[in-house]
């Protein structure tokens, strides 16, 4: 009996329990439905939950636990000659047993008889069925594989029995409890509450898990490179991690990367903030509803463009354009046509990232500006202020904390942005202030360090996790601070 069939049976039992419980509830009401504490549907759902939920939980646990137990048994059966060689050959042998066991299931009874009697080799028979084997089977293999299959069959049968019995027992238990005053609604709502709780805790636990894995890898990195040389080092030169070389001679200074990250983010904000803010003011204060209803979604389309596309745009269009313009300018001034802006530069990455950020700034600020109560605008206009005076002196000051929060959220995006800088900023880890030269960012180096063939025990690779956790800490702080400011602002009007 396979698992999906068991699943189906449990669902059918649940469905049946639903209808039986429903009709029981209706009968117990003696035709006066208002006597029931809960609507019949709730009684039905209650019974269905009892019939399915415990059974399915057991099914899930069984599916996870039984292969582990079976493999443990088989591992114990393996001959000493194999197990004494260490863990890798043991696992290999176990894998072989399992693949042979799966292969055996494909054989007909006759073929199986020939194999067990030894008149045909296992390898050839299985190969004919499309199950390749590296070498002729060791003697223990066939017996172990047959044991494996037997254990699996038993387990499957036991599981089917337990799950179905549990399902029926649950349904019976629930059905016995059903009576008019029974508070089925509250019970069902408790289960729903539990489901909601589970969903939100999955999101939180995943975050915790990600942080945990990053932290543990970062700690491994800090075992070979001291935190002070990482956080305060001014040279980024990780060298290549040749396999087996262990090579910790590289220098892992965070500062050049951090400087590049912040510099590019700063240039991006320099472009995005004025444009985005002005766009938001226009949208919120001046645009007629018809214009707004078209222009706002259009602006937000910018936010939907994948950042890799912005990366192309920077690499193919903006970078070369800036380079050529700078060459022309230089030629006009000095007569020497040499470009002073590199195609890959802080400026290129900053401008393109700024374009990407415009919709974030404008959309968030627009929401905050429109949240400023109309009564404040009326008050100012009623005193004879013009629209722009009202915006400058009343609306923007009132919205300022919220706007600052929005800008911080945007900045944290700029810091974490990857694809644009990978393509547009270059890979040279330098500390300098010329925006026309290439610089690199934390995210670019994470990509660099994790691309290609890697061994996950050299500092060259592990440094990516240290960089990642640093970046995470920076953006987390920015986000928390931004949320704090936004929340504080919200209290002012509510």
């Amino acid at each position: 009996m396979n698992t999906s069939l068991i699943f189906l049976i449990v669902l059918i039992i649940g469905l049946a329990a639903y209808f039986v419980a429903r009709s029981r509830a209706v009968t117990s009401a003696n035709g006066k439905l208002s006597v029931l504490h809960s609507l019949p549907g709730y009684h039905g759902t209650y019974a269905a939950i009892w019939a399915t939920l415990p059974a399915l939980v057991v099914l899930g646990v069984w599916l996870i636990a039984s292969p582990m137990l079976i493999e443990k048994t088989i591992r114990a059966e393996l001959p000493e000659t194999v197990t004494s060689q260490g863990s890798a050959p043991t696992e290999l042998a176990l894998g072989q047993v399992i693949s042979v066991a799966n292969g055996l299931r494909l054989l007909s009874d006759d073929e199986l008889a020939t194999v067990t009697s030894g008149s045909a080799t296992l390898r050839e028979t299985l190969a004919a069925k499309g199950v390749p084997m590296a070498s002729e089977a060791a003697t223990y293999l066939l017996a172990s594989a047959q044991d494996y299959n037997a254990l699996k069959d038993t387990s499957q049968l036991a599981m089917a029995a337990v799950v179905i019995i549990l399902s029926i027992a649950g349904a019976v238990f629930a059905l016995r409890g059903i009576s008019a005053p029974f508070r089925a609604r509250n019970r069902v709502e408790q289960v729903i509450l539990g489901a909601l709780l589970l969903a939100s805790s999955i999101a939180i636990l995943t975050t915790v898990g990600i942080i945990g894995s990053m932290l543990s890898e970062a700690i491994r990195f800090f075992q070979s490179v001291s935190p002070s040389t990482f956080f305060f080092g001014t040279v980024w030169d990780p060298r290549f991690a040749a396999a087996g070389s262990g090579g910790s001679e590289g220098q892992f200074g965070l500062l050049p990367l951090l400087a590049g990250t912040l510099y590019i983010a700063f240039v991006a904000m320099l472009f995005a903030v004025p444009v985005g803010l002005f766009a938001a003011i226009y949208m919120a204060e001046y645009a007629r509803p018809s214009v707004r209803s078209i222009a706002k979604p259009l602006l937000e389309i910018l936010a939907g463009i994948p950042t890799i596309v912005y990366g192309f745009f920077a690499l193919i269009t903006v970078g070369p354009f800036l380079r050529d313009v700078s060459a022309q300018l230089n030629g006009l001034v000095t007569g020497n046509y040499v470009n002073f802006i590199q195609a890959q530069s802080v400026l290129t990455a900053g401008i393109v990232m700024g374009i990407m950020l415009i919709p974030f700034v404008s959309s968030l600020s627009d929401d905050i500006i429109t949240q400023v109560p109309r009564s404040l605008r009326d008050g100012s206009l009623g005193l004879g202020a013009t629209r722009s005076e009202t915006i400058k002196k009343v609306v923007l000051p009132a919205a300022l904390p919220g706007i600052v929060g929005a800008l911080l959220l945007t900045a944290s995006r700029a810091v974490g942005e990857t694809m644009i800088v990978v393509l547009a900023a270059g890979v040279a880890a330098r500390m300098q202030l010329n925006p026309f030269e290439a610089m690199t960012t934390v995210t670019v180096k994470i990509v660099n360090q994790l691309t290609g063939d890697l061994e996950f025990n050299s500092p060259q690779t592990l440094v990516a996790f240290a960089l990642g956790i640093t970046l995470f800490a920076i953006t987390l702080c920015l986000n928390i601070y931004a949320l704090y400011i936004v929340r504080k602002y919200r209290e002012q009007y509510e």
């Binding site: 008050g379 206009l381 005193l383 004879g384 202020a385």
Partner: protein, 271 residues
């Protein structure tokens, strides 16, 4: 309206209402919100240094009319005004009129107190600064003190002028808004249900204030409270379904109105 009772004479500070000149004249005023017509050819005049109350059931157009007087309706999309409104014989809907200047002459106090999230001092100086009414700080200080005194708020806030205006109580906030309007030295002050968000004590203070302000300003007030209209106004106009039903001396309006609908509304039969 020629028959004046004793009380009305006293209330008009010994001035016969008929002799008081008109400050603002509304002629055939109609207002449309998109296709919907909210006011139907209203002819209503506002007399100088008089409190004119606009009453009527919700949605009757009294607030709409009030907002036409300083063109606050301009801020509402697809709102259209026809007819003619004059302020001292100047058409306020004339293309040459600067709406900013108009609103400086015709100030407004709103239903809900709406102090700016700034200090009390900055709230009062907001208008004067915009219109350049004061050059030195001393002048501003003087305007602040005078305005707050006129609004009856000076004694309560003189020690905390630099604290936020939003920290005051509701009634104080509304008087701050009145002070803010007064600071621009307008000629007319429009009040849109200024007491509807206040408790009875704060309401009494604001009403008293309106009474005093009449000596310097022309006041038009929209109110839902018949008692308030009777207490503070000399002239009352009754609106119903976008039409001006009746305009009369307040005393006559509340004792012996000309129109049956006014009678019914005042007696609480509808609205």
């Amino acid at each position: 309206m020629n028959m004046m009772s004793e009380a009305a004479v006293e209330k008009a500070l010994d001035q016969k209402m008929t002799t008081v000149p008109y400050k603002m004249i509304g002629k055939d005023v109609s207002v449309y919100y998109g296709d919907k017509r909210a006011l139907f050819d209203v002819n209503l005049n506002v007399r100088e240094n008089t409190v004119t109350a606009l009453i009527g059931p919700s949605g009757c157009g009294k607030s709409t009319f009030l907002r036409t007087l300083n063109r606050m309706n301009d801020t509402i999309d697809n709102c259209r005004v026809t007819g003619k409104i004059t302020l001292d014989d100047g058409d306020i809907y004339d293309a040459k009129i600067d709406v900013v200047e108009l609103r400086a002459r015709v100030g407004m106090v709103f239903q809900k107190p709406n102090p700016f999230p700034k200090s009390i001092y900055e709230n009062v100086t907001y208008g004067p600064k915009i219109h350049g009414l004061a050059r030195a700080k001393a002048e501003l200080d003087q305007i602040v003190e005078q305005s707050l005194q006129k609004a009856g708020l000076w004694n309560e806030v003189k020690d905390r002028l630099h604290e936020p205006g939003t920290g005051l109580s509701g009634g104080q906030q509304q008087r701050l808004c009145i002070a803010r309007a007064v600071a621009v030295s307008p000629e007319v002050i429009l009040m849109d249900e200024p007491c509807s968000a206040l408790d009875p004590i704060a309401t009494a203070k604001v009403e008293e204030l309106i009474h005093e302000l009449r000596t310097n300003f022309t006041i038009v007030i929209v109110t839902h409270s018949m008692q308030q209209a009777a207490r503070v106004s000399q002239r009352t106009a009754m609106f119903h379904l976008g039409n001006l039903v009746e305009e009369n001396d307040t005393d006559k309006m509340f004792t012996n109105p000309d129109d049956q609908r006014t009678q019914d509304y005042i007696m609480g039969r509808f609205g």
